[in-house]
């Protein structure tokens, strides 16, 4: 029977754990676990239910383009003979990827319709991937749709951004903080950039789209560094994020250099699993029907018995049936304010007070391993970068507290996507796990390594410096926490990350109690589906 939303989507829930609370679902990489939590000192934060999606997406897009915020309607900004560049978010958004048609396709088609009507011939579409890996043809086709791909790619008008193309980048100036601003030459020299965002989390969008997505190492190093990341508290909360302040300064330079941006931002609900066989993963345990429970037991058993490679393939094949909850267009900053409100509307959960021990179950996917392996460095990034920073106000865990994350953390890497990660793991991590020290000793070498550059530009490899950014992403957490325990992780690998391995939650809590005292309070942040804690 389908899940019938006869009730309105419920907000998130903070549930205290007592002796009758059932074990709660926890992701463990590609596997699933049921974890019983200590009674009377634990609580579980459940994400809000998916908001009702917009029924007529086409009408919403038209409305956004015709009545943009603080901008002339798009039609008036298009004219024959102009240079138009449409930039769009890369494969790192949304997660897991969206069921076709992707929202980017719908928006880009709407924009191109208008551009065609206005007689614009010179249109370029750029996957704004900064230092991420180049998207494959299949991924580009999924993002923009076959119609757009077949119309533009053969003419060389649809391509991946290349931040290492010496002729393709242009320096536009320096902020008053001395930060260089460099973006794609094509974009900078266009009469209009239309940037199509998928704002999955509050971090995405705003000036971060253009100033980061279309830039390169030269500009990124000014905010993708340990000092900035330590002072981004959190980088999901723009107004308290040094990362965003820096991007906004760079945006100011872009604006004064005459770069015209028409920003389109979209928000999705958190319906990752729909009504299908995975729907149990989004349900609260006491609401699991007999069918849900049977499905869960079977799925868990099947996953546990698969070889890791097969398991990964099975999980990465999932496409989420997100619904669009808002689309807004116009001036970058004004649009972003509205977008952020819409992201918060879906994701915020009010939480009272901090905790001693914060518990995560890390899933199989992060922004940087679509169709790939969540390697140990990405485990760090997903846990201490993303999950830890999904807060507003104060971190969920107190200063000096402990994060316990559940993930197998095996030393496996995808050599095509993450070549520099392997070297980072073998060369840098045994030397130091301190972001500041590694930045000083190793970052430049990796950023300027010819081989990585070659693989980034011609293959599907993340840029050489990318593993450093992944590590910096956790800088605020490393600074804030007393310790990190990885539950069920490969011990040698976990130690190399600078964490402590534990095989059971009891062991993990025992280790944690060395740092936070006996009988600590525990909060399990039951993410995914995505949410963000509003900590009072």
């Amino acid at each position: 029977m389908s899940r019938q939303h006869e009730h309105r989507p419920r907000p998130g829930l903070v549930m205290p754990v007592d002796r009758s609370t059932p074990p709660v679902l926890m992701h463990h990489g590609e596997q699933l676990r049921l974890q019983r939590l200590p009674a009377d000192r634990s609580r579980v934060i459940y994400p809000p239910e998916p908001l009702e999606p917009i029924e007529d997406e086409g009408a919403a897009i038209r409305e956004a383009l015709d009545n943009p915020i603080d901008s002339d309607p798009l039609d008036q900004r298009l004219f024959a003979g102009m240079r138009l560049t449409i930039a769009f978010d890369d494969v790192s958004l949304p997660l897991p990827p969206m069921r076709a048609p992707d929202i980017r396709q719908r928006i880009i088609e709407a924009v191109l319709d208008r551009a065609a009507a206005a007689g614009v011939d010179d249109v370029h579409l750029i996957a704004a991937l900064a230092l991420h890996r180049r998207m494959t043809e299949a991924e580009l086709r999924h993002a923009v749709g076959d119609r757009v791909y077949d119309a533009l790619a053969p003419r060389g008008q649809l391509y991946n951004h290349d931040a290492e193309d010496p002729d393709g980048m242009v320096l536009l100036g320096t902020t008053d903080h001395g930060e260089e601003v460099e973006i794609s030459r094509r974009a900078a020299e266009s009469d209009l950039i239309v940037y199509v965002n998928v704002n999955l989390v509050a971090m995405d969008g705003g000036w971060k789209s253009t100033a980061t997505g279309l830039s390169g190492y030269r500009a990124l190093r000014h905010h993708h560094n340990p000092a900035t990341m330590t002072h981004s508290r959190s980088f999901m909360d723009r107004h308290n994020s040094e990362l965003h302040h820096s991007n906004w300064r760079q945006g100011e330079v872009l604006r004064s250099a005459g770069v015209e941006v028409f920003q389109i931002e979209t928000t999705l609900n958190n319906d990752l699993y729909g009504n299908g066989p995975m729907s149990v993963l989004a349900k609260r345990e006491w609401e699991w029907t007999a069918r849900d429970r049977a499905g869960f037991v079977a799925t868990r058993a099947a996953l546990d018995r698969m070889r890791p490679g097969t398991r990964r393939k099975v999980m990465h094949r999932w496409r989420a049936p997100y619904g669009l909850t808002s689309v807004q267009a116009g001036e970058v900053e004004a649009v972003h304010e509205v977008t952020t409100r819409n992201v918060y509307r879906q994701q915020l959960v009010e939480v009272e007070g901090q905790t001693d021990v914060l518990l995560f179950g890390l899933p199989y996917i992060s922004p940087y391993n679509v169709d790939s392996i969540l390697n140990p460095i990405l485990v760090h990034c997903l846990g201490l970068g993303y999950f830890f920073n999904l807060y507003r106000g104060r971190p969920l865990v107190r200063e000096g507290g402990v994060v316990i994350m559940s993930h197998p953390t095996t030393p496996e890497f995808n050599p095509v996507h993450h070549p520099s990660y392997i070297d980072f793991f073998e060369e840098v991590l045994p030397e130091t796990t301190d972001p500041v020290e590694m930045a000083e000793r190793f970052e430049k070498d990796y950023a300027n390594d010819e081989w990585y550059r070659h693989l980034y530009r011609t293959g599907h490899a993340y840029h050489g410096v990318h593993p450093f950014y992944m590590w910096y992403w956790g800088a605020h957490a490393l600074d804030h926490l007393g310790g990190v325990v990885v539950l069920g992780g490969d011990p040698a690998t976990v130690r190399r990350l600078g964490y402590r391995p534990a095989s059971t939650l009891d062991d993990a809590l025992e280790i944690a109690s060395d740092l936070v005292g006996p009988t600590p309070t525990i909060t399990y942040f039951k993410n995914p589906p995505l949410m963000m804690a509003d900590v009072k």
Partner: protein, 322 residues
């Protein structure tokens, strides 16, 4: 040789339900935490959506189940004699089958007695509050009998409207206008739904009288006693310009004639009807031991003699809601 002294596991330990319970979540459901507002339950009662039970697969399996299990049970317990099916010779298209109601066996008996094609193109109006109160029972009723929920206590037209739609789609409807099984063996006053639906959809009503199912498995009894049962089909009835209430009264009267016919003969029943002396199915207005006494007499012609009577004690033990 060593002798094992361990005792055999007790039957309690082998009980699969106990074993599953001891496994706990997720093999059993989890309790709703005290701090949490529970979800509204699944749509049940007259909101139950029984569409799936008319899918080709459900229909095919239902035919098989009715023709095997259903027929076997009916034959074993009732050995039914079906009379006067020839009165339906001229009937075409959907109809509303209206029958008296004494026993859970009535539904199966009625469906099994219907001629094709009606037998497998009929839905049964079943009490929304009784048959559709849990997902499992609702699914079983919808599948095995092709039941659709009909509200009988609350004022609600949801069930009637849904049934009307089905009739318009070509389904026949079997309905027990007494609104429930007889509590004491006497008939009950008809509710107007059957007449209303027939009138609304412009389809004929076929009255059917079943005699003897109260002896097999009356309300309140758990164990059936095999007994011969007679099913008597009346001629299809059309609304004759009268309003639904009068039409309903005419249907009830026709059923009484059919009952009389079963117990005497066709011509005697016609004569009694012409004289206005057809015995009422509802029984006398008083409610003492004499009601039971008279019931015995109405069937056997000799009050208080039969030995296969169900006793008042049987009925008093009943804890059914209806």
């Amino acid at each position: 040789m060593r002798v094992r002294t361990a005792s055999l596991p007790s039957l309690r330990d082998l009980d699969p339900r106990r074993r599953i319970r001891s496994l706990g979540f997720p093999y059993t459901s989890a309790p709703t935490p005290a701090s949490v507002e529970p979800l509204p339950g699944p749509a049940l009662g007259d909101r139950y959506d029984s569409d799936w039970a008319r899918s080709p697969i459900a229909r095919a399996t239902r035919v098989v189940a009715q023709e095997t299990v259903g027929r076997a049970v009916t034959t074993a317990l009732c050995r039914p004699r079906v009379h006067n099916r020839d009165r339906m010779e001229d009937l075409e298209g959907p109809a509303v089958f209206v029958a008296n109601h004494h026993s859970h066996l009535d539904t199966g008996l009625l469906i099994g007695s219907l001629p094709r094609p009606w037998r497998h193109e009929v839905v049964v109006a079943a009490a929304a509050d009784y048959f559709f109160d849990t997902p499992a029972r609702a699914a079983a009723a919808a599948w095995f009998w092709g039941a659709v929920p009909m509200e009988r206590q609350r004022v609600s037209r949801r069930g009637a409207l849904a049934a009307a739609e089905l009739i318009e789609e070509g389904w026949s409807l079997a309905i027990f206008p007494e609104g429930g099984r007889s509590p004491d063996g006497w008939g009950q006053a008809h509710k107007g739904g059957a007449a209303y639906l027939a009138a609304r959809c412009g389809v004929p009503v076929v009255p059917v009288h079943m005699d003897g199912t109260d002896l097999v498995l009356p309300k309140g009894r758990r164990r059936p006693t095999p007994h011969r049962v007679t099913v008597n089909f009346g001629a299809p009835m059309h609304r004759d310009g009268e309003d639904a209430r009068r039409f309903s009264a005419r249907i009830e009267a026709t059923l009484e004639v059919l009952a009389d016919e079963t117990r005497s003969d066709w011509y005697s029943a016609r004569l009694a009807a012409a004289r206005g002396e057809t015995p009422s199915l509802r029984g006398p207005e008083f409610s003492t031991w004499r009601r039971d006494w008279l019931l015995e007499g109405s069937r056997a012609g000799r009050p208080g003699v039969s030995s296969s009577r169900r006793s008042v004690r049987d009925r008093a033990r009943g804890n059914d809601p209806w």
